[in-house]
């Protein structure tokens, strides 16, 4: 058999393990599709073709020798270019980092994906230093939306969204500090998992905001998302924030009934500043889940403000030396935000961190009586590349500053979220399925149920 473009990771792995498809054929199909379409999508910054072929041949040799292969055998995947890939400089979307020595060892999550049989085929475009919601990049050009290439892929994991949305690879990895997995998932019409803070190791990835950074997978189905997630779990002494909890596999639970779950709609902040398409998407998901209760999340707007303050100041601290020595090598928009971040008075940062404790306690209280909160992933479908403002209820609002308003108050306290794609016309849009800390299983079960009902799905790319 041959690997079809939109073949799911689970189907590829099954066919490879069963001998109907070789890992090499699956890999070659992904490489051919990247070659054919990435000139338009611009999702990839590096294609690791020879490495991928070598890995695929090794899997095929194991199968020929009768050895057991992992649950992702022969599945092509790619990673945001802030993950260390042995032999590549970890550019993190920047010009400056291209001067770094090539990484000697892969990021932990790449090692775990490959240990499960997956095949790394390349590194993906992203917004500079992950300080971005658009997927645009001044050095590498924008990654493009697979459903309309004149539109944003979303950031900062734009290449991850574009590559999976465009069905170049079935799985990609990205990072999410304020929404950088959930926003591209929404704009590109795919599934994305931002796990609980500390769940997945960030070892050997380029940081942005240590206390807000998460890594996670993107996929075209919930099963594929869960397969990747399960393969990547587990403690890692190389990431100081990584949990010591053991693997809590979700795959065996995915099809469990959700009838016992208490599901509510996030109110207040999460119902403001939204376009009709976001309202429609939340409404469809809520209706399918018979969710009618609206729960006000107290002070979510302030939580978003506090996340902004912590981000801009921690980001400034991370990049201070580069801002001093090489200011003209930054994307000016990122540089000027970071310089301003360096100038925020320290007490305001301390208060933002203290507010975080308070806000976390409020959400913990909500999750005593609710299992899942539903909220928009983005206020709108993908804007045009380069778009500066959008008009909402007669008010002109800046696009960049408002794309993440519904994701920031959630990652601020590390809650696990699955972004699910609602296939509206003409463009898809995502909804956040939010659970209590360490309950990725619940968010994934709900996402799976919605997928089974046909309410959410990754639409076939049609922009190229």
């Amino acid at each position: 058999m041959t690997a079809k473009p939109e073949m799911k990771a689970a189907d590829i792995a099954k066919a490879v393990a069963g001998g109907q498809l070789s890992a090499l054929a699956a890999t070659e199909a992904a490489l051919a599709r990247i070659k054919q379409h990435d000139t338009v999508l611009n999702a990839f910054t590096d294609v690791t073709a020879e490495r991928a072929r070598a890995k695929a041949r090794a899997i095929d040799a194991d199968i020929a020798a009768g050895k057991k292969v992992g649950p992702l055998a022969g599945v092509p995947f790619a990673v945001k270019n802030l993950f260390d890939v042995a032999g590549l400089s970890t550019r993190a979307g920047s010009k400056i980092n291209r001067d770094l020595a090539p990484a000697k060892r892969d990021a932990t999550l790449i090692e775990r994906m490959e240990a499960a049989g997956a095949v790394l085929v390349g590194a993906l475009n992203m917004g500079e230093y992950a300080y971005d919601f658009t997927g645009e990049n001044i050095h590498d050009g924008p990654s493009r939306n697979p459903h309309d290439t004149t539109r944003m892929s979303g950031g900062s994991s734009g290449g991850s969204g574009s590559a999976v949305g465009g069905a170049l690879v079935p799985i990609a990895l990205g990072s999410d500090t304020n929404g950088s997995i959930r926003v591209p998932s929404s704009f590109c019409g795919i599934f994305g998992l931002k796990p609980t803070y500390g769940r997945l190791s960030r070892a050997r990835s380029f940081p942005f905001v240590a206390s807000l950074d998460h890594l996670g997978p993107f996929a075209r189905s919930v099963t594929d998302l869960a397969l990747a997630y399960d393969a990547m779990q587990g403690p890692d002494a190389d990431d100081g924030a990584c949990t010591t909890r053991g693997v809590e596999a979700v795959m065996p639970k995915l099809g469990e009934s959700i009838s016992d779950l208490r599901i509510a709609i996030a109110g207040g902040h999460f119902q403001k500043n939204v376009f009709p398409e976001a309202v429609e998407a939340v409404s469809r998901v809520a209706k399918a889940l018979s969710a009618t209760q609206v729960v006000d999340v107290p002070e979510a707007s302030r939580a978003r403000a506090a996340a902004y303050v912590i981000t801009t100041t921690e980001g400034a601290s991370l990049h201070l030396d580069r801002l001093r020595k090489r200011p003209n090598d930054f994307d000016p928009a990122v540089r000027d935000r970071l310089i301003a971040g360096a100038m925020v008075p320290a007490p305001m940062v301390d208060r933002a961190q203290k507010f975080r404790r308070w806000y976390r306690a409020q959400l913990a209280e909500i999750f005593r009586s609710v299992d899942v909160l539903i909220a928009p992933a983005t206020p709108c479908t993908a804007p045009k590349l380069g778009q500066v403002n959008f008009n909402l209820d007669g008010v002109e609002l800046p696009v960049r500053a408002n794309i993440g308003i519904h994701t920031q108050p959630i990652s601020f306290i590390g809650l696990p979220v699955v972004a699910v794609p609602v296939p509206l016309e003409p463009l898809p849009i995502g909804v956040q399925i939010i659970a209590a800390p360490w309950r990725e299983d619940i968010a994934l079960r709900v996402a799976y149920a919605l997928e089974q009902m046909g309410v959410v799905s990754a639409p076939a790319p049609r922009g190229f």
Partner: protein, 59 residues
């Protein structure tokens, strides 16, 4: 006429040894205005004295 934040930007630039080229200044000022507006929103919220900060966050 000098903008209200310009003296502050000059002083912090000096204290941090972080040069701000004149060409950057308008955008840095605009970004700082946004950052300070959002920081004030947090600042206005009264918190108990006992509240611990979360620089090392646990979910």
């Amino acid at each position: 006429m000098a903008e209200p934040l310009d003296d502050y930007i000059d002083a912090v630039s000096k204290a941090l040894a972080l040069p701000v080229e004149e060409a950057f200044r308008p955008a840095v000022r605009a970004n700082l205005e946004v950052s300070l507006r959002l920081a004030r929103l947090v600042d206005e919220f009264a918190l108990p004295d006992e509240t611990e900060p979360a620089p090392i966050f646990t979910a």
